[in-house]
């Protein structure tokens, strides 16, 4: 805990700017601000997690560049969801480094602080607030002060309303704004959850099988939506549907293949498809 007034400080919203300490040559380190000076947004090194002797993650190393859309594929039990759990603070790793940007050590923050630092997460099963209406779901996700005494007096401003409307249009749920989220179809819930993540204005978006249980039409819609976000924030997509992966990564996008808790291959989709180890452990001969 020697990082000074860093992201560990509950009082300062992790992304709020302040006057920083100078750590290197003409490089200002602003506490709590995600430092992308070397282009890397997410950095995992030698991360291990075991549950009762079972190694869910085995010395996993993984890097993502800022602005990248990365697809992660791999067989069941490869540790994809566990990796997301580690990044978002749900699971503490037994060892290894997990950094957001150059400076924020994610292993020292809890889930809400990691979320405030700029990581949004979509669950495998669509998770929305079913007893709240669609617009209330978006309002709750909005990027603003999330401490209790602030929300007690918080009023819906015009700017917030515009933003909610914009997001509703993007996820095509304008007609459903006043319906309870619990009444939506499975695919609509998936879209709503992604809409909530957009309201959060994350720097890094983790999507765990976003196309699961969606119709072909909805899957295409989702691919369009994610392509629209490309460049606005970095995204990591865990997916089984190879067509969807192909639609997202195209010819040049990087794909990471995981098996048994580590990365076994990385490259464009075509490259990894030709990789011997990938064929053996995942695609099958």
């Amino acid at each position: 805990m020697s990082t000074g007034p860093s992201a560990n400080d509950e009082k300062s919203d992790v992304r709020s700017a302040g006057i920083g300490d100078v750590t290197g040559l003409a490089h200002v380190n602003v506490p709590g601000e995600v430092d992308l000076s070397h282009g890397v947004i997410l950095y995992l090194d030698d991360v291990s997690v075991s549950f009762d002797g079972f190694k869910a993650l085995n010395k996993l190393s993984f890097t993502m560049e800022g602005g990248e859309l990365r697809c992660v594929i791999g067989p069941n039990g490869a540790g994809k969801t566990t990796m997301m759990d580690v990044i978002t603070g749900k699971t503490r790793p037994d060892g290894g480094k997990v950094f957001l940007g150059q400076t924020i050590d994610l292993t020292r923050l809890d889930e809400p602080r990691i979320a405030r630092a700029g990581i949004g997460r979509k669950f495998q099963k669509p998770t929305v607030f079913e007893q709240h209406s669609v617009w209330e779901n978006l309002d709750l996700a909005m990027h603003e002060d999330k401490r209790w005494f602030h929300t007690l007096r918080s009023k819906l401003t015009g700017a917030a309303l515009t933003k909610i409307k914009e997001t509703l249009r993007m996820i095509r749920l304008e007609d459903q704004a006043f319906r309870l989220a619990g009444e939506l179809s499975h695919g609509q819930k998936q879209l709503l959850e992604i809409g909530m993540l957009l309201m959060q204005e994350p720097l890094l978006l983790l999507l765990d099988e976003p196309a699961a249980g969606m119709s072909d039409h909805e899957t295409a819609q989702l691919a369009d939506l994610l392509n629209l976000l490309r460049g606005k924030c970095s995204m990591m997509v865990v997916e089984h549907d190879m067509e969807f992966v192909a639609a997202l990564s195209g010819n040049t996008g990087k794909v990471t293949v995981m098996a048994e808790g580590s990365v076994i291959a990385e490259g464009t989709l075509d490259e990894v498809k030709r990789d011997e180890r990938v064929i053996e452990s995942y695609l099958g001969r």
């Binding site: 509950e10 978002t88 749900k90 809890d110 889930e111 809400p112 602080r113 979320a115 405030r116 949004g120 997460r121 669950f123 998770t127 929305v128 607030f129 079913e130 007893q131 709240h132 209330e136 309002d139 709750l140 996700a141 999330k146 401490r147 209790w148 005494f149 929300t151 007690l152 007096r153 918080s154 909530m196 959060q200």
Partner: protein, 355 residues
């Protein structure tokens, strides 16, 4: 928060009660059918205190998903703090004509324990009514919620907490009158406590507090904080991954609820004239949860209705058919979850609100 029409109706209702109750209790002759007897005043006043307690339980249970089976502790603590003031106001009129409360003379104590100092001042006692339940709830809540204790485990711990407090208060050494508690009050703020005018006054204060508590709860649950709290109840993990720390939210509603319950207890004691450790019994806490369930949890009118229905039935049945009260309570245990999962309010909604 409320529609203009509702505000107007509420205001008219409050003014009507404030005007009519004193007339009916003090001016209308006893022979008239419109006369309000001291018995009726006390009974309704007592139930209004229960209704405030039920509101408090509903705020944490119905809205935040925390089923507390220990709210009678906060109710009783508020009552005890008020009781300390009432005991000190007896002055030299006690059985032993001593400056010390009777039970201390009986135990052969020579001086007041330190925590009794200052309780002769009403304002200080009123402050304690808020601070003691609030502080205890905050400390308990901080450790329970920080450790992410939830659901039935939390319910059991709250139950254990009130039980432990009851055992503590049963001891004479604790300095709160042991199993007899406090009673034999003579006056409050200089007014004779049993006089019909005083009773009417306390009744009206309780009524205004009930309306105020309702409005405060209404403000909380219709704010954005209220929506976050309901999200804590439904899907806490989603909320955390959106960047909310549930701890602060839970602590706020939990502590607010305990304070509300303490105030209810403080208004209860001068009306019933006694406070003893049996008020902290686990059974009392469970009964509070039953009022909420019967009325309809997750609504604010529900717990108030529930407190009146159950306690109205209780005072009617224990007076006329005393053998049947427990059967009635047992039947409620079965009927409400089976056929009235949303309570009386849910039932009324089904009849009056078109889907």
């Amino acid at each position: 928060m409320l529609s203009p029409l509702s505000w107007r109706l509420l205001l008219i209702g409050v003014i009507a009660v404030l005007a009519l109750v004193p007339i009916c209790s003090m001016l209308v002759p006893e022979t008239s059918p419109f006369h309000l007897s001291a018995y009726a005043l006390t009974l309704v006043g007592k139930i209004m205190c229960y209704a405030i307690g039920a509101l408090a339980v509903d705020l944490v249970w119905g809205y935040c998903g925390i089923l507390s089976l220990g709210h009678s502790l906060f109710f009783a603590l508020g009552g005890y703090m008020m009781g300390m003031y009432l005991m000190r106001s007896i002055g030299l009129d006690g059985v032993y004509h001593s400056n010390l409360p009777d039970f201390m003379v009986f135990l052969d104590w020579k001086a007041l324990p330190w925590y009794w100092h200052g309780t002769e001042h009403f304002a200080y006692a009123a402050l304690l009514v808020i601070l003691v339940p609030g502080l205890l709830a905050w400390i308990f809540g901080f450790f329970a919620f920080r450790s992410r204790v939830k659901g039935v485990y939390l319910s059991i711990i709250t139950q254990a907490l009130t039980f432990a407090a009851m055992l503590l208060f049963y001891r004479n050494e604790t300095g709160f009158g042991g199993n007899n508690g406090f009673t034999d009050f003579k006056r409050i703020l200089g007014f004779p406590i049993a006089a019909i005018g005083t009773r009417t006054g306390i009744f009206l204060i309780t009524f205004v507090t009930l309306v105020g508590s309702y409005l405060a709860c209404r403000y909380i649950v219709t704010s954005k904080l209220g929506r976050v709290v309901m999200a804590v109840r439904d899907t806490e993990s989603r909320l955390m991954f959106l960047g909310y720390s549930p701890l602060g939210y839970k602590l706020f509603v939990w502590t607010f609820s305990a304070i509300l319950c303490g105030i209810a207890g403080a208004l209860y004691v001068p009306q019933v004239g006694i406070i003893n450790p049996s008020e902290m019994s686990p059974g009392n806490s469970i009964e509070m949860a039953i009022w909420v369930a019967v009325g309809g949890r997750g609504t604010l009118v529900g717990p108030i209705l529930g407190a009146f229905i159950v306690n109205g039935a209780k005072s009617f049945l224990t007076a006329s058919l005393s053998d049947y009260w427990l059967f009635f309570l047992g039947a409620m245990f079965v009927i409400v979850p089976l056929w009235l999962p949303k309570g009386v309010v849910g039932l009324l909604k089904r009849f009056f609100v078109k889907p």
